[in-house]
């Protein structure tokens, strides 16, 4: 490990702070993760146009001269109580190129950001980040001692259309023929699941001779019916251990199934397919 000025060499990666000309490399890493509506100007807006942007608080990892990972710190005032504020950094857009994941690059970036004295020189007292619980457990808590501030902010949502799911199903049908990838993955034909989700319109997903069909109108005559809320659906989409989350949701009655035993077994067998369908919803 070599440390010099504001850079750190560790195994095959070089960790350093932002330098002129890094913008394009950072955009390539960060923008594909955004919703398409945000993606094109996202980095420019969030960093270049931010009145508090300090390029020296951006850390990058490079290999053979190419930026393969990044971590951005945004300096800001944060309310500490009803009458006082403190300087804090929002740790955001930590991204690692898929080819370099699982090698501890993100962890090293978090540590590198702390090894630089820049944040403390600017008076930052806190660092905070937003992540799902699993990423935090694997990365933020062990690498940098983050604690969760659970329970103080709630999130609400409503969905009045499943157009994006219908579009996704159409795309999937175009990409695979009737004897394509779904069949090879063990998907059985003649299956129909209807979702009655609180906070959303009913939706049916059927797998039949012509492929997959998603519909907001044809919601009768299902093999199995799933009742739940948007929160449970979002949790199922988000969790890495899908099966455990699915079973937990069933046991806690946040997800209710009705239908024949065959239908419920079919639903279980189609979980991977359903996850693929709902992934971008």
């Amino acid at each position: 490990m070599k440390l010099g000025g504001n850079c750190l060499a560790q195994s095959e990666y070089l960790y350093r702070t932002f330098a002129e000309g890094d913008e394009e490399g950072l955009k390539r890493l960060v923008e594909p993760r955004c919703a398409s509506i945000l993606a094109s100007d996202y980095w420019e807006w969030k960093y270049s146009h931010n009145p508090n942007f300090d390029p020296s608080l951006v850390a990058v990892a490079e290999k053979n001269g190419e930026i393969v990972a990044c971590n951005h710190w945004l300096l800001r005032d944060v309310k500490l109580s009803s009458s006082s504020v403190a300087k804090a950094v929002l740790c955001c857009d930590i991204a690692v190129h898929p080819d370099h994941r699982g090698r501890g690059v993100a962890r090293s970036l978090l540590v590198f950001s702390r090894s630089s004295s820049l944040s403390s020189a600017r008076g930052a007292v806190l660092s905070y980040a937003f992540a799902d619980a699993e990423l935090s457990k694997r990365l933020y808590q062990p690498a940098a001692g983050y604690i969760p501030m659970v329970g103080s902010t709630v999130r609400y949502g409503r969905r009045w259309s499943w157009r994006d799911v219908v579009r996704r199903v159409e795309e999937m049908n175009m990409n695979v023929g009737p004897e394509g990838a779904f069949t090879r993955r063990g998907v059985k034909r003649g299956f129909k699941v209807v979702f009655h989700i609180l906070g959303a319109r009913p939706l049916s997903i059927a797998v039949n001779e012509v492929g997959i069909e998603a519909s907001e109108q044809d919601v009768e005559g299902s093999t199995v019916t799933v009742k739940g809320d948007l929160g449970t659906l979002a949790a199922l989409k988000r969790r890495q251990s899908r099966i455990r989350t699915f079973l937990k949701a069933l046991l806690t009655r946040r997800l209710k199934l009705s239908g024949s035993l065959f239908g419920i077994i079919s639903l279980y067998r189609h979980l991977a397919l359903l996850e693929e369908i709902f992934h971008f919803a």
Partner: protein, 265 residues
């Protein structure tokens, strides 16, 4: 574009609104911590200039020429900010803004809406539930302290009134000691003032802990007594237990932590 509803008028953003909107936001969330206090400059960047926000997506409710509430709605389906005056008509204003926000999103072709609210804001939560919203898994903020000396100084300033009659000297010793944290912090509280230093000093009580536990205690996610029972907080000599518990009780952040969507970046 204007639309009247009895004495309430709904309009979209007009140049120069940001000063009033920032004031309203800071006032409405006065009782919370964790958000960025709004200035017109920050509001312009976080809301007006956001890539998915257009002027028509900033829904403003006016009553007797005064802005009483607003929402910043992005075409991506996020309500980045929702804020309304906590007057006698707050339920009606809250519902009106949410209703208009959903109208806007259906017009621009969005399929869904999401927003962050403080868990203690029952008025806004009820307004959401009346409009068919359902609770989603939250974006959980994770917090880590970079500088305990500065943090303790800030917490002391925030609670100075309550600490006026408190006296004592304490040495905090970190058992885990990550490299960015100094291993010792000493605090001397007396005569309404505080001296904090990152060095080992002779003090009336020694507090042995780790950075995560102290962060949890100072930010109110764990009580000092519970950390003590879990053996994550040790106090020597034990006779200073009450003084140390009182110190943490006076210092800790009491306001609930709320992070509006616009602050997520």
């Amino acid at each position: 574009m204007y639309e009247s509803m009895n004495e309430y008028r709904v309009r979209t953003y007009e140049k120069g609104d940001e000063t009033e909107l920032a004031r309203l936001f800071n006032e409405a969330y006065q009782a919370y911590a964790g958000f960025v206090p709004r200035t017109p400059e920050y509001w312009r960047w976080s809301c007006l200039d956001r890539p998915d926000v257009e002027k028509e997506g900033i829904v403003i409710v006016v009553h007797a020429r005064k802005i009483v509430g607003y929402a910043v709605v992005g075409k991506s389906g996020n309500i980045w900010e929702l804020c309304f005056d906590r007057g006698p008509d707050q339920e009606r204003v809250g519902s009106l803004i949410l209703d208009k926000a959903v109208d806007y999103l259906t017009r621009v072709g969005s399929d869904s809406v999401t927003l962050n609210l403080p868990s203690k804001d029952s008025v806004a939560r009820q307004a959401c539930e009346r409009l068919g919203f359902s609770q989603l898994p939250p974006e959980i903020p994770f917090l880590s302290v970079l500088d305990f000396e500065r943090l303790l100084g800030s917490l002391y300033s925030a609670n100075q009134q309550r600490l006026m009659d408190f006296e004592g000297s304490f040495l905090i010793k970190f058992q885990d000691g990550p490299f960015w944290i100094t291993p010792f912090v000493s605090m001397r509280v007396r005569n309404g003032g505080i001296d904090i230093a990152s060095q080992k000093e002779l003090c009336q009580a020694v507090i042995e802990t780790d950075t995560r536990t102290l962060t949890s205690v100072l930010f109110g996610t764990e009580k000092a007594l519970s950390a003590l029972l879990r053996l994550k907080l040790k106090i020597r000599p034990l006779r200073e237990l009450r003084t140390v518990l009182r110190l943490f009780s006076l210092l800790r952040v009491k306001e609930p932590w709320f992070v509006p969507g616009a602050d997520l970046g």
